[in-house]
Amino acid sequence: MTQQSFLFTTPPAQTRRNLVIEAGAGTGKTTAIVAEVLKLMLERADLAPERIVLMTFTEKAAGEIADRIRMALEELLSVVSCQWSGTPGPGATAQTTGNRQPATWPAGSPHPLVTVTDPERAYRALTHHLEHIDALRSQTIHSFCQSLLRSFPIEAGLDPQFKIVEGFARSLLYGQIYDAWLDDETRVHPLPEAVREWELLFAHAGYLFQIRDLILGLINRRDLLAESEYGFGEFETDVLPRLEDAVIWIRRDSATCKDAAASRVAVYLRETPFDGGTLDEWIDYLQPIATAIREIDFRYCGALKEPMTFLRSGDRGESIYDRLASHRAAMALVSLTRRFLAFLDEEKRKLGVVDFDDLLLRTLALLDDPQVLARARSQFDFIFVDEFQDTDRTQARIVDRLARDESGHYVPGKTIVVGDPKQSIYGFRRADPETYYQMTEALARGGAERRVIADQYRSDPPLLETINAMFARLFPEQAHDPNVFRPAYHALRAARPWSRRELDARITLLHAQHEEKGDRFFAEAEAIAEWIQRNRDGGEKDLQRFAILFRRLTVLDDYLDTLQRYGIEYVLPPTRSFLDRRAPVDLLAVLRAIAYPFDRGAQISAARTPYFALHDVEIVHGGDAWDEFVAALDRFRDAAKHLTISQLMDLLLETTGIESLYDAAVGGERHLAHLEHVRAIAFEYDQRTGGSVQQFVDEIADRRGEPEEAEPSLVDETQNAVRIMTVHAAKGLEFETVIIPDLGFSTSGTESLQLFTVEEPRSLVLAGRAQSLSGNFRYANGEPLRKIAKHRDDAETLRLFYVAVTRAKTDVVFVVNPEEKKSGFQKALLSLLGPVDFADGREVRETDLGPVAFEKIDAQRRGDRARRRLHDEALESRLAGALVPFEAAAPPEPETLTPAEIAAKRAGARNKAAGILLHRVLELWDGRSETEPLLRQLAAEAAADADAVTRVRRRLLTISRSPTLQRIVSAETLGRELPIRFVEDGVVVERRIDRLVREHGRDLVIDYKSGVPEAARVEKDRAQVSRYAEAVARMTGRECGALLWYVDLEGDVAVEGS
């Protein structure tokens, strides 16, 4: 591996090699990519930008890289163009214009990455690329896959117009499909094999909802479930020999145990003959002594200690019996999940939807088709992959396939991957650093160049020194472990000058003292708030300097609340599930009360929301307020009958003025934003599902915690506020001061089920709620494989720690509780510093990491600063007093039709088709010839049904006998279906006149009407036809009459217009 900084010369095109760039935190990874693209473009003036694919981790990154490439091209072009043409370009610097030094990029950098040697060629290349730069494919791997699938939907077995479901819609859909599947599997088409599996799993999990959780959880690892080369363990080979040994030993050895349970086991094994058999048979055999085995105390087993230990294995739930049974349940789970996946795929195919996982998996499967693979490969010449350490195995395989040629070799120079293995932190999104290792190794074996970027442009040199000291120890060089990837640390070189800030230490350990365990987060939050108050300089942007980075957001509320009480502004970007927040909960409480008239709890909750704002005395003791509220709710319920969910929400929000309420509240923007999100969800729900209010409320209740949807960031980047986010979200960002609270978080046990692969011995392991044999009976480094999950977690926690610390430009604050258990970041930190103790105030001590400040803040001032509730302070204090009387907001009665109106409108609708047909006949009929052939012909044209044709036929009969017809025929026809246009109240009006005739020298507008002239109708019709007649009169300056001709089945009436 070569270790070098940026400076190098461009190799000639034909000798391009693939490239693996390792770029530590703050080393300018994006810059490195841009430089590589620029070089390519300069080298190859003819290259079409669409032949370059840049795969990024996020949409944001995709946009940024594309923008930076465009800007770099423009920058270089402006320099080169003036060199070449001799005229200074707008962006040219004096240096480049004056002395014709070669143009470089980044401009003015002491270590330029790109140097232009031939300006003329460069000019042509740059102009060409800038013109076509929009075709550059800078996208996330998901959108890359999406475009590939859109080109080959049929080959991929997808609906050609597939849509992507994500977030709430996905969760809703999957829930619905799961229910349908469960019903199908167990009620509609129960197959014995499937029922057996359900039964096994049910026996293990106890509840169907838990099975549901397990299966819906497992489908997120469908990539692994599809692995054919990895196994879950074999009873015959992994367990049986040792189990048989143990049983034989116990049977053979007549030694007695002092332990009662062990004695029961021994007696049973000796007295109950069993020659061995399948897994099921063994489970049945051991079942009667299952409890006894669990209770064996092997300290008192004497000579039988070893076999008894094997049987009991560990804690409760880990005995041989439990493990075998767990494996059997696990296999049932796997099998059911696979069946569910098949069902899900089929349903999704029918619906024409895919999710993000499908995009990847389908693409990978698509690339199995040699023809497609060949065409896909030929579409791109260069593939850049950013954040390669966070790719999952499916993504890596897709890249791998595209990177090779048909002989299976990597195409030289085609693939450039950039990443930092120490920043692989997306394990929960299946990122798999082991994959990073394997693929970069394979690339290197295939001739790729490895490059490590060591110059760091982010942190102050003293801080960087500390960072190097910390992580050299936390990431030591060690032998490669194929199962747990632990990258070695490469020291970073400070490439940025010192900042102006003078600090006594770059690392602060802040002690948050508290007595009760439950106070911990408040105590931390208060220490942070105090510290920030003491360390802000009062400048205009003095809060923007600080970022508080969390590992998990579940504890966030306490911190936010404290900051609010201290009056410290903060910005909280996306990540929390919002359906469980106040505004959506209140809205849904009211919807629930509307949907469930018999749910008293819902009713009371609705009364307590700000929509109605009853107080509890009114609720408990009843009275007018309560009655009014109940009546208002009834009104909403009436209205709801005729509304969709989103319409109902609109009505509710508008009637109760809730938005203005939030407007008035401090922090109400957040409520409003949440409301908007719920409204969007409801709209989508109406569009896609169209369910009732009851269904909607239930669906939401089911998914309250589910959608890890992002929350809108409400304050723009320029606001003077502390940044709060997860370490994950902070990736790629930098801040002056990084504060890390909640150091001792623990990650273990967060997932109830884990599925993962192990490379040596090659296995799939299911651990947690259901355990495969592979996890318990196969070993690596002397430990059962299930432990690997924990090691990987630990390794990832260290990487996360690295990411968190390296976000800092000047200093880092760790909020430490020496009493806390040593887990999470705290464990890493204390492993470097040893035990810590604090005196009051700030004290800087020299440590192995350099000077470290130990600071203890007394912040026991909880709750003494009341938070403002309303923007209007005066109003707030006024309202804090006596309660004003309750006033219910109720919507108006829905506008319903009377039965007569309905009957009339229905009749009108039935008449409509006949009316249109009649008009058409009259348009074309000469008034003399037989009508029947024309009627038939036009009935076919209009696809009129028999009923309409009969009506028209009868009307035509009426017409043929009508004197009005004679009158019309004998007049001169000026036009039929005649368009007229005129201006009325400043608006252009366009209408059609059924027939315009000239009768006795007077123009006459004739309007055909079906049916009879009821008074109400005539009035309206007359007004209308008179309008037309007036319009014609205005045009001609002559008098114009109007005639309404009502034609019904039995007779006709002509009515003169006014």
């Binding site: 080109s151 997808l158 469930y596 107080h615 969709t644 938005e659 007229i980």
Partner: protein, 914 residues
Amino acid sequence: MPSPRFAPYREIAREIAARLAAGRQGRDPLSPWDEEVIVPSRGMADAIAAELLERIPDGIAGLRLHSLEELAREILTGRGETPRAAGEAERGLAMRIAVRAFDEPLMSSRGIAAMLERSYRDVRDSGGMGRTRRGLRNPRRTELVTRAWGEYERVVASMNAIDPADLLLRATQHVNASVRPQLLAGFYDMTGVQMALTRALIDAGRIAGIWIPTQETFAQRFIQKIHPSPLSPLPAARGEGTGVRGYDTRLDEIRGVCARVAELLSQGMPPREIGIVARSLEPYDVRLLNRFAHEHGFRTTLAEELPLAAHRLGRAALTLLRLRERGFPRTEVLGLLRDGLRTQTRIDVDAADLETRRARIAGGPSEELRKMRVRSKVVEDYIALVAELETMPFDSSRFRIETDSDLQAIEKLDEITALIKRVPGTTPLDTIDAIEQATLRQQPATSNQQPVVWAGELLRFRGRSFSHLFAIRMQDDVFPQRRTEDPLLPDADRRILDVREIGDGRDEEQLLFSLVTQAAEQLELSYATGDGFGKVLRPSRYVRGLAVDGRRLAGGRRPPTFRRRLPTANRQLQLLVQSGTRSRFDGYIGPLDPTTLRALSPTQLEDFGECPQKFLLKHILRVEDIDHPEREIQIHHRDKGILDHSILEELYRSLDAADFRIPLPEQLGPRLDVLIDEHFDEHEAIAPPFNRTVRDIERRATRRILREFVAADVADLVANDLLPKHFEYRFGAKHREQADHPEPFVIDAGGVPVRVEGTIDRIDVGRASARPSYRIVDYKSGKALRHVNLGDKIDRGVRLQLALYAMAVAEFFRVDPEQVSGTIKPIVPGETKPAKFAFALHEKRAALLETLALFIQSILSGTFPAFPNEDDDFNSCKYCPVNHSCRTRHDLDERYAVQQFRDPRTLLSRGAQG
């Protein structure tokens, strides 16, 4: 043939209007026009009409401003031909039927019919496919596709219709001198058949003038076909002022633009001079535009589309069509009535909803439901209702109509039924499909006085011009729109087959953008950088091109904060101000009537210990949980508890002291099985299972679990030298004659006597005769994790039941508290050690009395704050009937306020004092 003139739309409209007006001078206004106009869009027609009316303000009559399709129809009608071109719904249906004729995987996906239709359209519009088949990417697929089209044509013919392309082609053959001279206004592109008709018109000398709005690359193909000679370039007509605004979110963008429109209107700009255009609008964009327009006092021309399936009648129709196949689920049956289905059976839906929930009916046909042994009147009615639905045919006249929108929906349903009836070979699935695809157009309900501003998608916009135009949603992927190849007929194949290629669309999008830029004097482009819900959006390349260095040219990121009027009802504001301050909004309701405490169950006290507000809700306000039987495929957990209890009770009662031994008596297992079967059968007669398989699985699981439990339980009894003596031991007045101890247990809680009543699952008594020990046993179905660390939880007042029972037993049996202990027995063995479920009374008694005194005082003083606790240790909200809507649980402020005083005792003591 005239050479084309190139001009922006507004100019085209002016020139044509001038020409037409000139021709009318001195003529009778009702006389026929010398020339007619062919327009590509409604916008062009409107623009010409408006210009013409400027010149002839009295109005015009008889002028035809028609599309090529309308002209074609007029030509044919003139010849006495009136063919029917299949409409969109018919074509869609025809293609879906055609697809069904092929048993191929390709033909089974949902979107395939639409895809086939689109390719078919291209082929037909191109005038058919060439003969060459060599070099096709997938000849077999092309073959299949062609056959599907053949089938489609057959179906269309069977409907007595022709394809729209045929209409144009037929007209092409009949163009002659009788067609009036036509002005071709504003086209820049045409389909193959449109071009064929146009060519025929040109060849017959019937085209009197041609106006083209652009010379962009994309239009060159069209221009070449119309006039294959070199042209003078059109001067680029760009709006005078172009600005770009970037917003944080799509919401901000649309609201911001509406605010800008309102500003212009208030400055006196006529509404017709303002337009809002987007390359494409999603339904939600339309919604937001109308919503924010309303907020700002104007209307847009956009109508919203509501899926028929989201209308209650559409939903009811779908439910009815699927009901049988779904097995008559309870919610759907009742939903039908709520949605407006009229039935013979008279039933109060809400009462039926509640009763059937209580009766644990998940659904099922009437025959199944009749097996229920105990049935209330309402349940009887429900069963009758299901029976009626079982035989009910689909008929829209059964739906109750109440509003105009109901009428609209019913007409749509009728339309669908008529279409389906007309087409041979349809199935009920087609009806379902058609309902799912249908939409209802809804104009937003706003006052008619409001000014109306044109808003719409770019393709509808063509031909229109404004003084001030807002081009919104200028996002990547929206504009330019990304194209993908037609997978059925990729461009490579199209080239071979001589069918119009799709290409990357770059030129067309560029042209469309240039049309936007030329259509207004002032143009404001806008985009958002996010959807507001966490998704990043990228600005369109056209905007990026305009913005310098990706920075925005004008405007801030956020529209000025939109402030509404304050609510008049200040009570609402008071809730915001006072909640979380121990106010009347927070459960502090003042002294209560002491009779409230006449009798309390230990569970009630426990509820208080967990969350005082939960106690208030459940026991004073009588809030109950609402069950969802359709979602509870398993036996309801409360029922399951009762089942387990009664099985164990019966089993143990039937045993002699000698039976409690290890190994277990042989007959025990079989006897248990028999009991389980009996009790399950009994339960089924009360609550018939909707899902029989699952019920059977549960039955077998219960056999296994209870066998294991009994074995372990007996072993435990033997080990502790105990014998179960009393089962379901009832005490207190509420049990009346069934009580084992008719008196309640009266406990003195800080001077207030509290009467405790209850049922003890089991009391074990020591075999030793002197000072026998008493153990209170409580079974819990499941692993009982809520009860782990029982002793500790008793001290904290969150688990009181067993301790109170223990006190009662000590008193009833007159034994020393030293002799009494209690334990929870989880029926499903977990990993927890039994000791964690047990306690000794004498260790708990003193603290318990103190706790009770505190609770009682607090209850009497009316102190019921909510106390959300959801950690691993105990979760007060999990079984709270209002957990989904509890304000305190979901509000940071309020949560903080109560968490200040974390220990309920502290909280209560302070509350009681204050």
